[in-house]
Symmetry: C2
Subunit: 201 residues, 2 copies
């Protein structure tokens, strides 16, 4: 993910300094891992003093929580939009997989943090993120069930199938990088074909 | 993974103290992440002094390298055995996915470490592990190509399909835990069915 894309992810109504801190936290967590990153590392990367950091975030865990919440909320929005864009469950699933996959390829740096540092979240923040994750998976499961009801998908365990679909997309954040031979969009299209077959379309 | 299973993974001809250190390193890396773990943490968890640790391993990176090398070598052996157990590419792929999936479910603690701390490996060790990973993926790709040649699989991009198959299994280590509703074996069987369909069987 480029700095521009990161910046777009946090283009809400927050102060410029807070956005710079979020970008710096992503870079620091990605390089050293959450546990080995200090608030001083993040402040330095953002060109600020630790005292200035504390004006915006009380701790590095608060930064991780904000990155995770925003990342998951944006993912849920993308999944819900794809799941609603057509009346045909097959087209809904194709679009969903294409976008979910491309999203994790483009945003692999943030994707790794929000997926692999989950257990470092404070309990309350973890619950918020866990609820967003359940809604993402339930949305995927609903499209599969709609497809089964409409006779276009044939798969017995819809919960396991939904897990496989989301898992395939999430794992892209682990292995994808800018040297990969497929663009995020190409990969999304190919995964779309593979998933539709997996669901018995 | 239980301590017994961990112990089995390192039941080679090494001294008992070295095995205890490997077990302690797995627990410490899994809890705190590699970067935030100190050699003192590992020695303490193994009931030893830091000086005693250095008799067996020069650094925590050397412990990570051994865990990664062993984990990947065992995975490659499992994949190669499954890929060779039958003349029928469909049965070879079914067995491969069943075992690869169940392996990552049972060994999810070690699986997370060897898959998510790769970049913390010293360059030389990284190369050894990267080569093992290439061989795992090439083995999967070869079974797919054999199936395409035999007319039992129908998939255009065999490299992307092989990546999807391994990715699905690896990601099990991220989300699986002992509270999951499926046993490792059940999950393996269900994933076997999904993957065969994905490959157009």
């Amino acid at each position: 993910m480029t700095s521009q894309q990161h910046a777009d992810l946090w283009s809400g109504e927050r102060p410029e300094a807070a956005r710079r801190l979020l970008l710096a936290a992503v870079e620091s967590f990605a390089t050293r891992g959450f546990h080995a990153t200090t608030t001083r590392d993040i402040a330095t990367a953002a060109g600020m003093s630790p005292a200035a950091l504390y004006i915006h975030y009380p701790s590095k865990a608060a930064l991780l929580a904000e990155i995770s919440r925003q990342g998951h909320a944006a993912t849920l929005a993308l999944v819900e939009e794809a799941a609603a864009h057509s009346a045909d469950p097959l087209e809904r699933m194709r679009r969903l997989v294409e976008e979910f996959t491309a999203w994790h390829a483009r945003g692999h740096t943030v994707g790794r943090i929000v997926n692999y540092e989950l257990r470092a979240l404070p309990a309350e923040d973890f619950e918020v993120v866990a609820e967003l994750r359940r809604r993402i998976e339930d949305t995927v499961k609903q499209v599969i069930e709609d497809g089964v009801a409409a006779g276009v998908f044939h798969t017995p365990e819809t919960r396991t199938a939904a897990r496989a679909v989301t898992s395939l997309g999430i794992d892209v954040a682990r292995w994808y990088n800018e040297r990969s031979s497929e663009t995020p969009q190409q990969l999304g299209e190919r995964y779309g074909v593979l998933v539709l077959r997996m669901l018995g379309a």
